[in-house]
């Protein structure tokens, strides 16, 4: 490869990244702090913004542990056991990656709405799913379902079954083998999946937007808050909340990089 073509390749790639990622995100940062730090600080410490952040974190605090447990169990089922329909199950786990979040939101709406299959029964028992936290949690769970599985299954396949078989011959019960051998062996894969799940849950917009009803100060997450502020011409507020989301994403990236190295080791 000539020096010129190498140079072209490198700077085309960098230029592409800059156009698509760095300049837009940089712009948000610039606009946010255009008039100094304190206007931005006041924008994101307003009661509505704080509440939106709380809702987002609350959803994450419920979704991430549930999907982690499900992810590990599903990974073990896919990588370690044989059951009819395993292939279908494996493919189904990927469905949320392929399906538009709006469709997910709509399907939950149909299921839990006033006339939906579950909606009627739940309404009779005084449980509200739509326009409330349960619906938002369900939507976010659906969307962020595949990440732990996709990280853990390859690790399980790579470590193989020999360590687990060794544990069995040494007298360990399946439960002991899981806690003492399997889980420590997959821990970095699980951690990586958890971080990806968190990132996805933090940033979810489409599905949550539909099932939440977007009730300001009630079912408003941070991403919904950004949209609401933007639509109400409170552009500084929208920028400030965007920066907060971007900072969370950067923190996630840093953690992923560190975990990626651990996983390789």
């Amino acid at each position: 490869m000539t020096v010129l073509s190498r140079w072209l390749l490198r700077y085309t790639a960098l230029g592409y990244l800059a156009m698509l990622l760095l300049i837009p995100v940089g712009m948000v940062f610039y606009r946010t702090f255009e008039h100094g730090f304190w206007p931005a600080w006041h924008a994101i410490t307003s009661p509505e913004a704080v509440h939106a952040l709380e809702v987002t974190l609350e959803i994450c605090a419920i979704v991430v542990p549930l999907n982690t447990v499900f992810g590990i169990v599903a990974s073990l089922a896919i990588a370690r056991s044989r059951f009819p329909g395993r292939g279908v199950f494996n493919a189904l786990v990927d469905l949320p990656l392929a399906l538009s979040p709006v469709v997910v939101g709509l399907s939950l709406f149909l299921l839990y709405g006033r006339l939906g299959w579950f909606g009627t029964w739940l309404a009779d028992h005084g449980i509200q799913v739509l326009f409330a936290l349960p619906g938002m949690v369900l939507a976010t769970m659906f969307i962020s379902l595949p990440f732990v599985v996709r990280e853990v299954v390859p690790v399980l396949r790579e470590i193989g079954v020999e360590q687990e078989q060794a544990a069995a011959t040494l007298g360990a019960s399946p439960w002991q083998t899981f806690w003492r051998v399997t889980l420590p062996a997959i821990r970095w894969g699980v951690a990586y999946g958890v971080v990806l799940t968190t990132a996805r849950a933090l940033g979810e917009f489409g599905a949550v937007s539909i099932v939440s009803g977007n009730l300001i100060g009630k079912t408003e997450t941070l991403t919904l808050y950004v949209q609401n502020q933007y639509e109400n011409f409170n552009v500084p507020g929208a920028y400030a909340a965007s920066v907060l989301l971007a900072l969370l994403a950067i923190a996630v990236l840093v953690v992923l990089t560190v975990l990626g190295r651990k996983k390789e080791a």
Partner: protein, 316 residues
């Protein structure tokens, strides 16, 4: 504790790994399961350990039917070819594993592990991780780990297969000495006939999912049941219908009624012995093993004509 396997059949899809195999292992013996790859020897070992479930047949340990018993309750120690070391645990934690899951007192665990690490000569390595050990050290750790729970039966699946020749020989001798001290019933899977002969009291020779012959190393070598056994336990020449070992051929410089004429094609010096590769007058090739002194007396060289006579031959 003796091991009995009766009428074991095991299929993997279309492939039949074990075809109605029965073996009986004497208590306190060291037996080798020998055979080429794909002969079913490892599968048989895994069936005995409970890591594979046979399609038919039963496994008895110490006279008790354990066919449906999971591996953790069979009281066997298993050593894997690729060590199956717990990578996230230190050497000490690896060896202690079996005792820890049995919830033995800490003091007892520490003493037993120290004792075992001395036995396998890894005293100074207790706090290392498996990745920091050589292959030979890892396998000695694997042995210590299997021995920690005082298994009634020790099962080794090609334990030295991934090691280099020198370490392999060393560990083989060490295993034999260990067995002479402990007399734990031991079953070792190997594809290396030399290893089987050196280490074991008895050999079960397998091929194509069946047992071809079982007996002492000498019995297999001197009274092979068939052509396969004869060829597997040592080098062999075929002359017409007869099979002859390279050291059972006599060379001379003068013909007589029993000799055949041959030309020396190649001489291979292997220290004490010399391998002489011959071509008979009909184009058949023979390999003859002579001592260095014999080769010197005959003044063998390439292209020379010699006369060859079988001293002992076998016809099946």
């Amino acid at each position: 504790m003796g091991i009995v396997a009766e009428g074991i059949t095991k299929r993997f899809g279309e492939f039949t790994a074990l075809h109605d195999v029965s073996i009986e292992i004497e208590p306190g013996s060291l037996t080798a399961l020998l055979g080429p790859s794909g002969s079913g020897k490892s599968t048989l070992l895994r069936v005995i350990a409970g890591l594979e479930r046979p399609d038919t047949g039963r496994v008895l340990l110490d006279g008790k039917d354990v066919t449906g018993v999971p591996p953790q309750r069979r009281g066997v120690g298993f050593v894997f070819q690729h060590y199956a070391a717990f990578k996230h645990m230190t050497v000490h934690q690896n060896v202690a594993f079996g005792l820890r899951v049995r919830r033995r007192p800490r003091k007892e665990v520490r003493e037993r592990v120290t004792e075992l690490l001395q036995l396998v000569q890894l005293e100074g390595f207790a706090d290392r991780f498996p990745a920091q050990l050589s292959g030979g050290q890892r396998q000695r750790m694997g042995l210590a780990r299997a021995l920690a729970v005082d298994p009634a039966v020790l099962l080794l699946d090609e334990p030295f297969g991934a090691l280099d020749a020198r370490v392999r020989k060393e560990l083989r001798r060490w295993l034999r000495r260990l067995h002479d001290e402990t007399h734990t019933t031991t079953l070792i899977v190997t594809h290396d006939q030399e290893e089987a002969m050196e280490v074991s009291d008895r050999i079960v020779l397998m091929n194509d999912g069946k047992v071809e012959q079982s007996g002492g190393p000498r019995e297999l070598y001197e009274q092979p049941a068939n052509e396969f056994v004869m060829g597997f336990v040592g080098p062999v020449n075929q002359i017409g219908e007869a099979f002859v070992r390279p050291h059972d051929l006599e060379l001379s410089l003068h013909p007589n009624h029993a000799t055949r004429e041959a030309m020396v094609e190649r001489l291979v010096h292997l220290g004490f012995e010399v391998r002489v590769e011959l071509m008979l007058e009909n184009g058949e090739q023979l390999s003859v093993q002579v001592t260095r002194d014999e080769a010197e007396t005959l003044e063998l060289e390439r292209g020379q004509i010699v006369y060859v006579r079988p001293l002992r031959e076998t016809v099946f």
